[in-house]
Every structure is written in C-alpha cells, then in structure tokens.
Symmetry: D2
Subunit: 330 residues, 4 copies
C-alpha cells in the first residue's frame, strides 16, 4: 500500500484525490495547499490530514507525493520531494523554463528516486489503444502523424499571462503525444500562430490558434493543430498514417443518441472538457504510477519526457515569433 | 446520510456495494449472504459488518436495504424489509410468479414504505437521454419502438433451468424499457421464439432467440428482439420512430480507435457485457433511489412497474408456447 | 444487343428508359403508354418510337419488354409478352391477386421464356454486399433478420385505395428481401398494423404502420417494420444476426458533411426517396436482366419469387385483419 | 446546345466524354488525340468524329473545347482555342511553369473568351455542401482549415519525373481547395516533405509525403497533408474550424455494410481512387461550365484561379527545398 501526500488541493488536485483514495494499492494520508481551508476540506473528505508541504515531505511514513500545485513551484517541489526520498508524480509542465527543468533533472538523478510527469493523455484508453495497435504493427511503419487538440473556450487573459504561452501550456500535451507515438523527438520544429480567437490574447503576447510541423531524422512528419476555441466541446483527436494503413482515435461523446428529423441527423457532442474526457486517463495514470513504484518498474513517463516536451514548446515559441524553423539540440 | 444493508454479496451485489459506499449520501453498514465468507469479504472491503439478513432487517439504525439475492427470495425479502420499515431497492425480476409478486405488492402497500425495482437500463445515460428528447417533443408523438437486446453468450443450461425462461429473465428488461418509453403498458403481446443458438436450451424448455410484438390501445407498436448470442459483444440498442423523426440510442464502444487497412475500416466493438455497459447506469440508479428516499420523492421505478413487466413476460411466455396473441388484463 | 420495348412511360418507366438506353448491351426501340403523348415524349428523348403495346409485342425485332404499367395490367402483359416470345422484366408486384399471379406463372411456364420480377433492392450495392458477406460465411449461419423500411411520407389516400394495401404495395419489397437473404420462404406470418400516421388511411381500410414476424422451419426468425412516414427521409436498413456476427446495411446519405456546433453534431440525412436511393440498384437490375437473357443464364429474380412475396403479403394482410398467425402453404 | 470538341482521349478525356455526351445542354462533336486510334475509338462510342486538334479549333461550328491533353500542351492549346473563339475548359494544372501560365493569361484576356480550369473537387457534393454551410454562416468565421489528401498508391517513378513534383501535380488540388474555402490566397507558404514512401521518388528529386502550412493576412491558418500512399483507398477529407463550430467533409465509402464479429466492427473502405470518388464532381463541373457558357455567367473557376494555385505550388516547392518560408507576391 503506497502512502501518499497530495500537494495542491485545487481542481486538478481534487481529481487526483479521488484516484489516490479509490485505488486499492494507495491511500491518501495528507493534503497541503497554500490556501489552508482548501487542504482541510479536501483532506476531510477522504479521512486524510491537512498539513504543510514541508510536513508532508519530512514525514518518513509517506512514500510518495503527487504535485498538483502551480507550475512555478514544480521544479522546487520535485527536487525537495526526491531528496526527501519520495516517489514523485508531478503535473505537467515540469517548469516554464527549460533551463530550470534541466537543473531539476540533474538534482533528481542524484537521488535515484522515481519521478513521473503527468502526461495523462498517454493513459487515455483511446490513445493508448492506438499506440498498442501501432506497436502490434497493424499499420506498418508510422509516417505522418496529425494531432488535433482544441479547447472548448479560451481561459481568461489573466491566466494566459502567467501560462507560459500556448505552446508551453496547451500544446505541450501534444508534443508529448507526438513523442509517445513517434517514439523519439523530432529534429526540427516549425510553428505558426495567431490570435484570431481573441485579440486580447494577442495583446498579452500569446497566440490562440497555432499549427506546428515536426520533422524527424528519417523523414517522418508530424503536424499539430491547436485552437483555444471549439464551441462544440473539447476536441481531442489523433490520426496516424502508416505504410499499411491509418489509425484514428476520436472523441468520446456525451451519449450515443442520434436524432433524425427534417433538419438533419444530430448526434452527441464531444464531452465538454478535460475533466470529462480524461477522467479515465487520470485513474489509469495513477494506477501506472503506483504499480511502477510498488513493483520497482520503470516510470511510464519520465522527467526526461517532460523536459523533451518542454524543449519542443520552447522551440515552437521561438519559431512562431521569428518565422524560422528551429532545430532541436540532440 | 442513508444507512444501507446489502442483502447478497454475489456479482451484482458487489456492483451495488461500490455505488452504496461511493455515494456521498449513503453508507454501507452491513452485508449478508447465504455464503457467509462472501459477506465477510465484501463487508471488509468497505468497512461494513457481515451479518445475517434477519439481523440487518431488525436493526433500527439501518434505513434501507438493497436486495441482490436470488430471485426466489425477492418477494419474501421485499415484504419483510418493508414491514421492518426499510426503504427497498430490489433487483429485477420481482418474482418468477406474477401471482406471488402481486401478493407482495399488496403486502407492501400496507406498509407505506418505498420500494424500487432495479431496472437499471432506465438510468443508462443513452436511454435516459433518448427519453428526455422524446419528452421534449423532439420527434413528436412516438409511433413505433424497436428494442434490440442481445447477450454476448448464453448462460449455462443449469442457469436457464432456474431462470424462469428468456422472457422473465432477459426480455423483462426490454418490457420495462418499452413501458418506460411508451409511457403505458401494451394491450396485446405476441411472441415467437426458438432455440437456434443452442438446442440444449430448447431441451430445457426455453428459447434463446425471440421476437415480441406489443400493440397499444392507440395503435402504437413496439417490437423487441432478443438473442442469447452476439459474439461481438453486448448489443443494446433502442430506436423510436415518431411523427417528427427518429431517435436511436446505440452501444458504448470499447474505444474510439478506427483502423483503416486494405482489409477494411475496423472500429471498436460494443463493451462486452452488462457490467461494462451499465456501470454508469447502476451508479445513477442508486443515486436516484437515495435521492428519492432522502428527499421523500416518488420512486423512479416502482414495484408496480416490476409487476407490469412481469405480466408482459408471462404473456409472452404463453404466446410463444401457444402461438396465439395474449391480451393483458387492464 | 438486346432490343427492348418499354411498356409504360410514367415515373418508373422513365427510370428504366435511362438504363435501357445507357446500357452497352441493350437499346430502347419502342415505348408505349396508355397516355400516348407520354410515350411520344419519352421515346423522342432516346430516339425510340412511340407505339401501342400490341405493336411492340407483335414486333419480331423486339427481344425483350420491360413492363412498367399499372399493377392491374401486369399479369396480362407478362402472359402476352411471353407468348409473343419476349424476355420479360416486370415491375413488382406481379398482381394484387395471388390466384391470378399463379395462373400467370402457369401460362408463362408453357412458353419457356425468361421472366424476371423487378425487386430492385436485391441489386442495391449495400444489400447485395451484405448478401455476399453472408454467403462467404462471414457471420456464420443466419439466425435473426430485421428489415426496416420507412417511406418519407404517405402517398395520397386515392393511391392507397387502389394499392392493394401496405403489405402488397410496400412491404412486398421487404418480403422479397427476407426471401433473398434467408434463402427460403417462412412457414408462418404474423402481422400487426395500425393507421397511426393518418386516420384517413385507416378509413380506406389500410394500415400505415406495421410489424410482421416471419418464422422459418428451422427456427430462424425475421421481423419487418414498415411506416409510411419518416420525415427525415427514406429509411432502408437491413440487419442480420448470425452465429458468428452481425451484418448491417444502412442508408445512403445526402453527403458526408458533419457540422459540430453548440447545438450538436449534425450529419446528412438519408437520400430522400426510392429514386435517389435506388438509382444504382435499377441500373444493376437492368444489367443483370440483360446479361441473363443474352448469356442464357438463370433469371436472378423469377416470377416464382414474385409470387412467393405476394403470398406473404396476402398472409400478412389476413393476419393483420384477424389477429391470428397465418401459415403459408408449402 | 453547346457543341464541343474534346482534345485528348486518354483516361480523363474518357471521363469527360461521358459527361459531355450525357449532358442535356451539350453534345460531343469531335475528339482528337496524339494517338489517332484512341480518338477514333472514343469518337465512335459517342457518334462523334475523330479529327486533329487544329481541325477542331478551326471549325466554326464548335463552340467549346475541353482540353484533356498532357500538361505541357495546356498553355498553347488554351491560347489557340481562345483565339479561335472557343470557350475552354482545361484540366489542371494550367502549366508546370508559373511564368508560362501568366503569359497564357495575358494572351487569353485579350480574346475575351471564357476559360475555366478543371478543379473538379470544388464540385464534389461533399466539399460543395461544406462551402454552402460556411457561406450560410453556420460555423461563423473560418479560422483553421485542414485538408487531408492521400492517394492510394504512388504513380510510377517515370510519371513522377515529368509531373512537376508533388506540389504542382497533386497538392495543387488542395491549394485550390484552400483558396475556394478561405476565399483568398495566403500570404506565406511553408512546406516540408520527404520521400518516406519510396526512396526512388526521392532519388527522382521529388517528395511523396508533405505538409504545407498557409498563413493569411488576417491570421487565419490552413494546413495541407499529402501522402502518395494510403493503402486503404483514396482519402480525401476537409475540416474547417470556425468561430461557431467545425465542418468536416469525409470520404465516400464503397458501401454502407457494417460487419461486427469477434474481430471488431468492420465497415467499407473509401472508394478507391479519383475516378470512383469524383465521378459526380466531374459531371457537376461540366454542368457548371456549360451553364456558365450558355447563360453568359461568370466562370466558376477561372484561369486566374489556376494560376493562383500554381503560384502556391511553386512556393511550396521552393520552401520544401530551402526549409524557408516563402511569401507569395500579392
């Protein structure tokens, strides 16, 4: 049984609390949050204790921590937790600064403690099944990947300003998806972006609509489309052309009802946003982490994976700014 | 908070235990089972006590019982529980004997206690959404209903022999679905059936493939198709033609992956069986029961609903045997 | 090159004219119609001559006739044409009277001339592909067939009165589809029907909504649903459960465009009516007839097939009237 | 009635011959081909005459010519035909040389004769319906376009060598589709490509897999994916995100049959190649040309449209070669 401390009791922390408490191999021991009442409320729901982060990290009875705090604290907490001997699952992104993330990696490697980054989409049943099919060779060799990832509505501009920008905040998931499916990092990143959804986003120095092209050493190509607004719901699809066929993973729908009238044939919309779509993915992610820690297996998503995606986000940010292709360092 | 005793710790009892324990408005206090170790094991998982049924029924601290025992005990337990002042949620069917079920109804009516029958499919998100669309008038007046309900594989013949037959054991769900969607009972039942899947089922006096036609006072028609074997998975669909359109509720699929190769375009199969397909329905059913009991609202599915479906099953059994149409008594 | 006379220049005659003239192995020589200007107009479009039916039948240069006149003339014209040595393709139904149709069969058998009945749906690419899959054994042995056949809107009551009723006029196609797919006639027919779409149809002695159950000697079952009104378009589907799987053939859609908005996901409706849906089927039907005549092969749909479907229509009409099951004579 | 001369009796010329001869407002008068027997054979099928191109162009009784010859002859024939007073429908591309195409435009403008370029996909019922929906404002303002266009199998390398390269030969259709849907040309073209399908194609100086990103003056973005190999068939899809929703136009399928077995749910593949998919588009294209000429309306696709697409192809070719973004001249 893995004894777990949860750092961060916000929206995503609450999602993780359900899975930590509901998992047969883990128990939620303690919760911390900058806002103490939030920690107390969440802890109470699961019979856990509200504590400070320091108290959690220094408690030898706690085996693992899940870091669901704000991004600017991730690197510090990962380092502190690993040094305190905890296994770590940290929400994405590792950091907004690639340099800081790389320092974090060095610090952590010294400890030998397992650190996993929360790229939950790898555990989505649809994307995971697509990967299994690919690995079985059912479409031969992968050649051309297309990832579509649209949010239902843009976040407030106040959030945009501290987010690190679309490439670090939103597309970072898709960069990791590309790495997950293509099995390696690309060599060159080309990005274009604009603030066509909301000019305020542009005024804040960010884009809300973007297309990134990734090219690989052996000639394979990937393309990622992002938009901050798809009014019909969270649109999360992957499509991979291979030498022997095509794999597509589509959206989950609200329900399977189809209504045919004189106005057309109407079916359900995609589930609204990431909590609805990825709830099973969060549970599977946690299961994978617990199993890896308890069974001494390899982390399914590593800190290096987190840094690889961050490097692509940084390259895309630069490419979108300069209009030039950016080569990734090997 | 509703304090609940669970009678029956078998497969379906275990499903209910998850929902009772996981619901914010109910807690699982005690579990009973003919096979004591099964009760103990399940109780231990949820911090409940293993007791006898009698001990549960006589405990004034228990507000409600969920009856998930074998069918032949349902009527007795419903009566005993209602007399002991408990709210009751009982798995379908009420009884294999229509007469006994009607006695049970009389006995329960005297107590004034709420009894709900577990027709879980009414709470399936897809069928529920279809009903909402119908009630909103989106297809006008219902005219022609078609229910398709295929199991992935037939049960053992030993089970068939004590099941009451396909119409009472399997199609009873579809009779209730017809009542749920058409809003009233039909006037006449016509059934045909055969044992084409497995002659052993025929030798046991039952059918494994059947079609029932229901006709209503105002000319509406419903048709139900059942088969004990659909090798591709649990096939559960409803289709309702109305004066202004058609509503269809389809299967949930394993995943959304589509693979296109020279051999064709392959998508996921329906989820395998009722546990996979109807897990959300069981949770919603329990929520509806808890809400109705705690808020003093009307039971969403009543004992009378259970008896109405049973009367249709009895009529269908007779019709399939005699080849004649059978009129239902008003 | 098959030289063809077309009897009947109405809506369906015009469809056939396109195919006769457009086929590389046939040419349209002459057209007749009770309404002479209609024959002249159609003949002129294809460089054919307008003549009387008698003149067409007595012309030794004409090899085959296509009978697209009103139903009450079919038997007489089939007989006359066969006696005149013509190959015959006659629109369905053979006759409204089963007895008269059987006389016609006897008369024709004496001539040895090939007669095909125009059950065009056997040649629909979707239903034909379903049959091919079945014949390849891809779903094992057929067990339970369901045919859905809804018209977009009811015909005028004046048409209903001379149509012979829904079972002879509309469902006869579905009876033939059942025979086509099940490979034999059923032993018993059970029908229910009502005039829920339009009470005027009921006042005219007919039904507009009906369900027929067919049972076969070996226990297989088929069910057919008909409605005269599906406001979203012509709904023509077949679904066949077998021991190793399920085959479904669906509608052709107006186009493949899917529109996702806050109101839902909207796709195209089925093509509107039989001319839109079955145009490729009419062309394939004509090709099959021409090939069979010119190559001396077996007719793909025979006069006996037409009579078998008519016998089922008659039995269904009686069953719907009496409420009793009707056994077909072997 | 438009009297038409067809220049070129190859595969695509034969497609056009069917439509010219089958259209109620046009007749096929004469056919030419470098290979005289091919012209004779095709002419004979439609009761037309085989002639030289010069004889067709100099015949005052001929109103229009359809140019379906090899690409290197297009510009010369367009000029000659326009100067001879013919209306012209010419297959794409206008030319492999943008400069030569621009000369051709100047020469033609002097004649005042209507010239249409055969971008048949604009007339595909699916893409045309998508455009209608967009024009009706059903998804608000277009923001992000994605065009997927995969051939089933690469052409022989001998063809590749004279094709002008993937961007001029294959993606030119998609450039025109982008112009058709976005309503204007982009300002910048970014292309990546590789020869991952067949190294021989790379050795011939071309690519077989490519992604092009187009950016527009107002911030809109389009992305086009091409591959020379999709083993499951011709994959032709368009997807357009707007401020109020998403439009998707998908493939036409072989048939609507769906087969569910233990191995999964199998549906039909896309129709195999452009002849199967775009036959209705070719007929609609011809109808649009005939109507525009006879009714004196504006050409639905102009020579300028052909040149705009060619300019994008040239820019993409350069971008793929240099790795740099290429700005289009206004």
């Amino acid at each position: 049984m893995l004894k777990v401390g949860l750092l961060g009791a916000g929206r995503i922390g609450q999602v993780h609390a359900v899975n930590i408490a509901g998992n047969a191999r883990s128990s939620l021991v303690a919760v911390s949050d900058m806002h103490q009442p939030a920690a107390e409320k969440l802890a109470a729901e699961y019979g856990a204790e509200a504590r400070s982060s320091d108290a959690i990290l220094s408690d030898p009875a706690i085996d693992a921590v899940l870091i669901a705090t704000s991004t600017d604290t991730h690197s510090d907490l990962i380092e502190a937790a690993a040094k305190a001997g905890k296994a770590v699952l940290c929400e994405k992104p590792v950091d907004l600064s690639l340099e800081r993330a790389q320092q974090c990696l060095k610090a952590v490697e010294g400890t030998g403690k397992p650190v996993m980054i929360g790229f939950n989409r790898r555990f989505d049943p649809n994307f995971a099944a697509l990967k299994v099919s690919l690995q079985k060779g059912q479409i031969g060799k992968a050649e051309l990947l297309a990832v579509t990832s649209f949010d239902p509505a843009p976040p407030p501009v106040s959030y945009i300003k501290v987010s690190g920008g679309l490439f670090r905040d939103m597309m970072i998931h898709d960069f990791d998806m590309a790495n997950f499916l293509m099995g390696e990092a690309p060599v060159t990143v080309r990005a274009v972006g604009s603030s066509i959804v909301d000019p305020e986003i542009g005024a804040a120095g960010d884009v809300d609509t973007a297309v990134v092209t990734l090219t690989y050493a052996d000639g394979r190509i990937a393309v990622i489309k992002n938009s901050r607004r798809a009014v019909y719901g969270y649109d999360q699809r992957v499509e991979l052309l291979g030498s022997d066929g095509l794999l597509q993973a589509g959206n989950m729908l609200e329900n399977t009802v189809v209504r045919s009238t004189v106005d057309g044939v109407v079916s359900g919309k995609p589930t609204y946003f990431f909590l609805e779509r990825y709830m099973p993915a969060y549970a599977a992610e946690w299961q994978a982490f617990v199993d890896a820690v308890l069974d001494g297996a390899k982390m399914p998503v590593t800190l290096k994976d987190g840094i690889a995606a961050l490097a692509m986000a940084e390259a895309a940010t630069e490419s979108a700014r300069t209009g030039q292709a950016v080569d990734l360092k090997g």
